[in-house]
């Protein structure tokens, strides 16, 4: 449970209960941007660097945005679970519920010219980069309105104009690709950075160390973010890694271990990392997080971990509940107002799904488009 230190007496104004005016669903609650300083749940653990402070600067508007964004992501993933069971989503579907704080905290510290690349657990990362619920559900159901026109599927979401480079199915491949994005940013002399996200399973991939070596040699502005949810598919971290201290695995590259269920800690760490890599080259952030679902919808997630463990994390560390407690504790909104937000979100998600369900599949001619940018679509191989 996060401890909060209110900075001065002016914060007493924030403690005034908000007037219960109309019960409209869309009434904005607190749009105040008065700074609020909150301590992270636990301190950061550094490797070869000075950790950032535990005191994180935020404000009521940001906290409520965190709540809304994470609740939207949570609702979206749960809805995707139902759609998969109804066979409207096919193939692979890897859900992110539990890990929302990582992508939401990251977005709060960066801009859309910074780049993010991740693996296949990408629905929420895409939403965070500016994707819409409709594009997401359309893509999951293979419709032409999907973000990849129905041709990519769950693992292949992209939004290049807001710096989201996918969406990759091969474990570990996204890390060298992310280092390449950082290379381009440095080549172009942008003052921007790239976050390459990977899991505790991918952390043992050789290509990661190859790319890290080159990135450190060439001083690339790359932040490797290990989303350690403690299981690589069905294999617990202690069975896969001789050293599961992923933030230390960079050896000569500095690292930081972060409570990935604390959105403010994530924000602080990412802000720190961005400043660091622009001056000093690569850094590794290990986000200690958890996924409630199994590896994918084909995995019940309970054969290699106990239900007690899963419900324990949900009770003690859920990222949305943590923010709810902060918001209520600082009187930034009432319980009813937060529940109203959740109802609103549920309605938005349901509407997006309904719209996506009736939307058309891609035209058959789309089978042969986009194989190349230039020429040789159907001409390459006539049937």
């Amino acid at each position: 449970m996060a401890l909060s230190h209110l900075s001065s007496t002016r914060s007493n104004r924030l403690l005034r209960p908000l007037a219960a005016a109309a019960s409209s669903l869309c009434r904005p609650i607190s749009t105040s941007t008065e700074p609020l300083v909150i301590e992270t749940s636990i301190p950061f653990t550094p490797h070869k660097c000075e950790p950032p402070s535990r005191s994180v600067e935020t404000n009521p508007q940001e906290l409520l945005t965190f709540f809304r964004d994470m609740a939207t992501m949570r609702r979206m993933e749960i809805a995707a679970d139902s759609l998969y069971k109804a066979k409207l989503i096919r193939g692979f579907c890897h859900l992110y519920d539990g890990q929302e704080a990582v992508c939401v905290g990251m977005e709060a510290s960066i801009n859309k010219k910074d780049c993010i690349i991740t693996a296949y657990r990408d629905h929420c990362t895409f939403l965070g980069r500016g994707g819409t619920l409709l594009e997401i559900f359309s893509e999951l159901m293979g419709r032409q309105g999907g973000c990849s026109k129905g041709k990519g599927g769950s693992m292949h979401f992209y939004k290049k104009e807001s710096g989201f480079y996918g969406g990759h199915g091969i474990v570990g491949a996204q890390v060298p690709l992310g280092c390449g994005l950082a290379f381009a940013q440095k080549y172009n002399k942008d003052e921007n950075v790239t976050f390459a996200l990977y899991g505790d399973g991918a952390a043992n991939q050789g290509q990661l160390f190859e790319a890290l070596n080159i990135s450190a040699l060439w001083d690339l502005p790359i932040i490797l973010v290990c989303e350690n949810n403690h299981y690589g598919m069905g294999t617990a971290e202690w069975r896969a890694a001789k050293s599961p201290s992923y933030y230390k695995r960079g050896d000569y590259v500095p690292g930081l271990k972060v409570d990935g269920m604390d959105v403010l800690a994530v924000k602080q760490a990412c802000k720190f990392a961005k400043e660091h890599v622009l001056k000093n080259g690569p850094i590794i952030l290990e986000m200690d997080t958890y996924r409630y679902h199994g590896h994918s919808m084909s995995d019940p997630g309970s054969t290699y971990r106990t239900r007690d463990e899963i419900s324990g994390v949900r009770q003690e560390r859920d990222p949305i509940e943590r923010v709810r407690k902060l918001v209520l504790g600082h009187d930034l909104a009432t319980e009813k107002e937060l529940k109203d937000i959740e109802k609103e979100i549920r309605k938005e998600v349901d509407e997006a799904i309904a719209k996506a369900k009736v939307s058309p599949m891609p035209e058959p001619s789309e089978l042969f488009t986009n194989v190349y940018v230039k020429g040789f679509g159907t001409e390459v191989f006539h049937s």
């Binding site: 992209y158 939004k159 480079y165 060298p176 390449g180 040789f376 390459v380 191989f381």
Partner: protein, 334 residues
Amino acid sequence: MTVRDALNSAIDEEMSADPKVFLMGEEVGEYQGAYKITKGLLEKYGPDRVLDTPITEAGFTGIGVGAAYHGLKPIVEFMTFNFSMQAIDHIINSAAKSNYMSAGQISVPIVFRGPNGAAAGVGAQHSQCYAPWFASCPGLKVLAPYSSEDARGLMKAAIRDPDPVVFLENELLYGESFPVSAEVLDSSFCLPIGKAKIEREGKDVTITAFSKMVGYALKAAEILSKEGISAEVINLRSIRPLDRATINNSVRKTNRLVTVEEGFPQHGIGAEICASVVEDSFEYLDAAIERIAGADVPMPYAANLERLAVPQVEDIVRAAKRTCYRSSSLAATA
């Protein structure tokens, strides 16, 4: 102009014309290139654009593809294509398929280049031809130059092309010199991707080849002409897309076909050409298609065995004669 100089000048001119083009690979910079293809480029363009990498193909190829995602135009060198296998996931899954999976959002304007196929005495792990594997993959373009004109024109086309291109050179051709016209030497010179070249016109039998085998096919055509057989030699230049139109038009004229390649026979380039001709020009064939390829064995080291493992000019001559019903003994086809 040697093929080496042709490649060097093409890369140089494209780097000069477009600041987004950069070069990456083992020994491409300070060593001047393992085969001296990139000689002088580090000095001219500096270490920001000519990058020496550690011996980590998976890592640096992934970095190259990521840079291409962001809009740069990398030229990634594999010291030989045998080492591309270390990075093949990035070539196929990260580069070739991205434009399709993203429905056009993520294009990959990258060139993967290096020597391909057999050299001389380098043994099994350093002699494989990778044309069939890469050419089967939608999303890649695969080029194989023979002459200096091919090297210049196709390299420039590859660098300018917005799609991932696998550029298969040949170590033994680097030192060979070919006459080049003023047009070829001009910096705007470029060859189209997907067009084969008829190196020698003929009317009795079509011989297709790429890379070093084009030279062998031309020698075979010379020998055949003295025996009254007029062979048409097609230099494929582009393995993917394959110029089916040129090949089929030629076979419709000559009615006979011999395909030549250095690599393994099963599922090779000749197999694809054979299928294409059977599909499109079956009624025009007067004889079974002959497929000349390397022996179906890992490349041996001993010089006599190595010679037996790759096609020789005599093999092409014999095959052409067989298609013309001029073989000396039926048992020879075993």
